[in-house]
């Protein structure tokens, strides 16, 4: 089996700050990969670069073996609305707040050419149920939803076209603990049912342990450690990873 997404030699500087320094990363189909590290370590930048939203100064990103920037912006956008999904930390960035829940879920379908109102609505209802939102609320605006529901709606909107790879930027950030746990549970079930590959950026080590098969630890724009989740968290090699793991608060 070959890698779904493979990036090599990524470098990007913001002025004198090196956000990415020769980063290589790969993800295989059906795999959940967590990118952890402190604020400013370059993990969100890495996600933006991997998902084509920002060009690296050096380096290549291949999806299914093809360079994602080789075919131009139109091809990249097609990728972003079909095979890829992006879940923002703040649901307001990923949702259209002035459009109903059903419209939000339907937008990706319609972008991909769905032109049957009844079908779009049926799929929207189905997805609302899958993310544990009452389908009767299909015509409500997202602002009537709680933060956790908005985040679940954003996930439904992203997954409705059955992407193969989903980028998630701190999806549980800003939610309270019980809501976080529920969201993580749901994500884990969806990833398994749909065979999703997920690259999830988080600073929450516990969330990473729950979801991820593999972990990449970043610091100052470099990958300092990489390995299976249990190995990295139970037997950290790099001093920074050791610090990170020992800083986790136990309840």
């Amino acid at each position: 089996m070959s890698a779904l997404l493979k990036a090599e030699g990524l470098s990007l500087r913001f002025g004198r700050v090196s956000a990415l320094d020769d980063v290589a990363i790969a993800i295989w189909p059906g795999e959940v990969l967590a990118v952890v590290g402190e604020s400013g370590s370059g993990k969100s930048t890495l996600l933006r670069v991997l998902s084509g939203q920002q060009l690296p100064e050096v380096g290549t990103i291949r999806f299914d073996g093809a360079d994602i920037h080789a075919e131009g912006e139109a091809a990249l956008r097609r990728l972003l609305r079909t095979d890829w999904g992006f879940v923002h930390q703040n649901p307001r960035d990923g949702l259209r707040m002035a459009i109903s829940a059903g419209g939000n879920i339907g937008e990706r379908l319609m972008s991909n050419g769905a032109r049957h109102y009844g079908d779009i609505r049926a799929q929207a209802k189905d997805w609302l149920a899958r993310v544990e939102i009452d389908p009767a609320r299909i015509d409500e605006l997202p602002r009537n939803f709680s933060g956790g529901m908005q985040q679940r709606l954003q996930i439904a909107r992203t997954l409705v076209t059955r992407p193969r790879l989903v980028f998630m930027d701190e999806p549980t950030g800003g939610l309270d603990v019980s809501v976080q746990a529920k969201l993580l549970d749901m994500l884990r079930a969806l990833a398994r049912d749909l065979g999703l590959a997920i690259i999830i950026v988080t600073h929450d080590i516990a969330a990473a342990r729950l979801l991820a098969h593999r972990i990449v630890v970043m610091r100052h724009g470099q990958v300092v450690e990489e390995g299976l989740t249990d190995r990295v968290l139970d037997d950290p090699q790099h001093p920074y990873t050791q610090l990170l793991v020992s800083s986790v608060l136990a309840a």
Partner: protein, 278 residues
């Protein structure tokens, strides 16, 4: 002709610039072409875009008709017609069949147009996506990539809230299966007339400084859903004056007792129907 003005008011260099924009617009049906709109002797919103397009294409042999909401006798129509009579000394008419150029605000004449006629629309807002996406740079990118899912989301919202597509005017169309275009605020009733029309259709937006066009016989399709097809909406009445049951009607309130009548919005069509009946 009024002394001291160039033929048709605009200077020749400006007309040439506008003609270049028109040619480009005709070459790419439905695509908005920027142009250097001039100050005109009437306010924005009164047809500064349409009047510049008309000034650039009109010649001494042309016969001009100007309508506002279908009517030849409204302030906007009369003042633009008189303007060209003064600065270009062209013949003017109220009869659709006699005109070679028809400048219109918010209607397409009921009578079918011919190959030797040009229809010039006055457009307040050329961007069909502007209420949905506030960033002009982003709308340009969406046009470039033909990424129009957002427009359908708006139609979806209409059906979810109202049970039908609620847009009765300025109903978005796809031109030549490529560009999403605003038909200017004509009633949706008129949309089917744009499809494969034998006449050239030019659109001028003065304030927004855009020109676009639909060449003759170009397919123009109103957006819809398979299970909620586009419908041309018309008041279910007959015209009080001419009795037409097919034309687009204006509702006119006649008193404060709830009295109202329906009359054709196209005054030339209504007159012709009345003459036929008489």
């Amino acid at each position: 002709m009024e002394a001291g003005y160039n033929f048709a008011y605009l200077d020749e260099a400006t007309k040439r610039m506008i003609r270049r924009a028109i040619l480009k617009a005709v070459a790419i049906p439905g695509h908005q072409i920027p142009f250097g709109a001039r100050e005109m002797p009437l306010p924005y919103g009164w047809g500064t875009g349409g009047i510049q397009v008309t000034a650039s294409i009109i010649g001494p042999e042309d016969t001009l008709k100007v309508i506002d909401q279908g009517a030849d006798d409204t302030t906007n129509a009369i003042s633009i017609r008189r303007f060209f009579a003064r600065v270009a000394d062209v013949a003017t008419t109220e009869r659709t069949a006699e005109a070679t150029i028809i400048q219109t605000r918010h209607r397409i004449p009921e009578a079918p147009l011919r190959e030797d006629q040009i229809l010039v629309y006055q457009v307040p807002m050329p961007e069909p996506l502007f209420r949905l996406e506030p960033r002009i740079a982003e709308t340009k990118r969406m046009h470039a990539l033909a990424d129009y899912g957002l427009m359908h989301t708006k139609l979806y919202e209409d059906i979810a809230r109202l049970g039908r597509i609620g847009t009765a005017y300025n109903y978005p169309v796809m031109v030549n299966d490529r560009y999403l275009m605003s038909p200017s605020p004509i009633p949706a009733f008129d949309n089917p007339k744009m499809d494969r029309m034998p006449a050239l259709q030019l659109f001028g937006a003065g304030r927004e400084k855009r020109i676009y066009a639909v060449p003759p016989y170009t397919p123009v399709r109103s957006l819809d859903f398979e299970d909620h097809p586009f419908r041309a909406i018309r008041a279910p009445h007959a015209c009080t004056l001419c009795g037409s049951a097919a034309s687009y009607l204006d509702e006119v309130v006649t008193n404060d007792q709830g009295g109202r009548v329906y009359v054709c919005s196209d005054t030339d069509f209504c007159r012709a129907e009345q003459e036929k009946a008489a």
